[in-house]
Subunit: 301 residues, 2 copies
DNA sequence: GCGTCCATGCAGGGACGCTACATCGTCACG
DNA sequence: CGTGACGATGTAGCGTCCCTGCATGGACGC
């Protein structure tokens, strides 16, 4: 039983298909298919079953994939055991973050890591739907993701480790000349019938606006759906609507006014997601420590 | 980092050399050497160091070998996870036992396992020095070993699992016409100046006789050193000396008389030794359960 | 019903790992 | 102190395994 094949099976499970898994593993779909087939012959139990034109893991496949996590963890732990004897931990760490999180955290993170010799950071900004963050952990070492404050956690079960970084309040962004711009806070009632600019359906913190509006007793009037907060900011500035924007990331600017919400809790949680096996790498731990420290400074500021 | 290479390194550690490890793994010494060398390049730390004409693991090597155990365990657990979905556990289990333990346990064990379809037992009797029992676990799934009652446990650390089976008293074996033959028990003082037949130095329970004699205040007079208990029995029967023989294994015979010792605790512990990764196999667990049940019957009888 | 996408089988090629052999160093024996 | 044997380690050669490329079959959507 090969650890590589186990990893392949696991990826097929998380990525939901042979082709997607092949892309992550830098292989051809054919190779992935053959590995799984070989594994199946070895254990004598069907591991995958076709569903439509894709496929999905059988219960036995799920069980094996779960066990594969422990194998990967053990292997990484072995590597780490040797690194302890190396005077200097070394390696590259791939970090991914959603756009505004990247803007908030990555510059300072890179600065901090520059002081540490030997660790190379490869940063990427990835804006994906809420449910797709966990799948990124197959390609990345650390995935900075966000979710509604009140929402439930992340899928992925035991395979992914969730490290809470910080909670960022979402404020109401209004034009500088807006009637609410002078207020020190607004209540849900103040927001009735305002034209909202929201994020696209299924994307992070999409549900927050609905929750806020529910407190005012009516559904929000959504006039635009824009994912990029800078575009949102520009639209708000030009008077095309109001929106919810994260305080730490957009509070400093002078283009729009951020007014805190009172009477309702609106915010997003920013977490670091990473696979349990990746978490065993010393360099990854190191980056994670810095990231957590950095987030702590922002949160208490 | 290959799980196979890790296993190889571990074996080099336990077997204490490339050649011995190669024999266990069914490889040539060259292949083992190359695997270790490759592993070394990968981690960038020396894993082995030459000592005389052999070699030994460096601290880093030991650490990696220890981690290799967890990898092997995780892999076996993965296999077991699939076997759960198989209706019938199946496979061969290699069992090794020292001579008298084999005589005591193996026939009944085989009878019990015959009732279970699919599990094939391969039994071997291995009489090795006390310190060499653990090394057998590399070749065997289950090793039945014995040690002095009062002695310390087994070496091998976390890598080997010890399952206590039973404690067997050691009685004084005397000829049928010996002055002590009629006694219901003997005390250490009764044993002064008797001609003893002991096992060879370094072999299991060799230390027990010394402990018993120490209670009588004098060193035992050892006239012969014989490992095979049947030979010992024949020698005792012919009046060439007395000896310590295990009660359950030799108490039933009519060739010599076994007299219990009083005033001193003399016995041997019979344990099952197995590698932690092997212990994850369902069929191995099954055999172990039967073995333990069987030993329990003997112990309470 | 056709095009597209996805999983899968088959043949070819490359890379990796093992065997066999030679070398060097170390320990036992005369 | 030289000689023989044992053990570890490189090198060449070969076999094997695995991956790529291509073709096939099935399923969904327009």
């Amino acid at each position: 039983m090969d650890a590589r094949a186990l990893e392949t099976l696991r990826t097929v499970g998380t990525q939901g298909g042979v082709t997607a898994a092949a892309a992550v593993l830098h292989l051809t779909p054919s190779a992935v298919s053959q590995q799984v087939a070989l594994l199946q012959r070895e254990v004598g139990v069907p591991l995958t079953e076709r569903v439509g034109r894709g496929l999905r893991l059988t219960p036995a496949g799920e069980a094996l994939a779960e066990a594969a996590v422990d194998v990967a963890v053990a292997l990484e732990r072995a590597r780490a055991a040797c690194d302890e004897f190396l005077e200097r931990p070394q390696g590259v760490v791939r970090v991914s973050a959603f756009q505004s999180g990247a803007q908030l955290l990555l510059p300072a993170l890179l600065t901090r890591m520059e002081a540490i010799e030997g660790i190379t950071l490869e940063c990427t900004d990835e804006d994906v739907a809420q449910d797709d963050f966990v799948a990124l952990t197959d390609r990345m070492d650390v995935v900075v993701a966000h979710r509604p404050d009140d929402g439930l956690g992340w899928a992925g079960g035991r395979a992914v480790q969730v490290v809470p970084l910080l909670r960022e309040p979402l404020d109401v962004a209004v034009p500088l000349d807006h009637p609410l711009a002078g207020r020190s806070e607004v209540r849900p009632d103040d927001l009735r019938d305002l034209p909202w600019i929201a994020v696209r359906e299924g994307f992070p913190v999409a549900t927050v606006l609905g929750a806020v509006a529910a407190r005012s007793g009516s559904a929000p009037r959504i006039v635009h759906r824009v994912n990029d907060f800078h575009v949102v900011e520009a639209l708000v500035e030009a008077g095309h609507g109001v929106s919810l924007l994260p305080r730490y990331t957009f509070g400093g600017g002078a283009r729009v006014r951020l007014v805190p919400l009172a009477g309702v809790r609106a915010g997003r949680r920013i977490d670091a997601l990473l696979r349990r096996d990746r978490a065993e790498r010393l360099v990854v731990r190191r980056v994670l420590d810095e990231l957590r420290a950095l987030a702590g400074e922002i949160d208490t500021a």
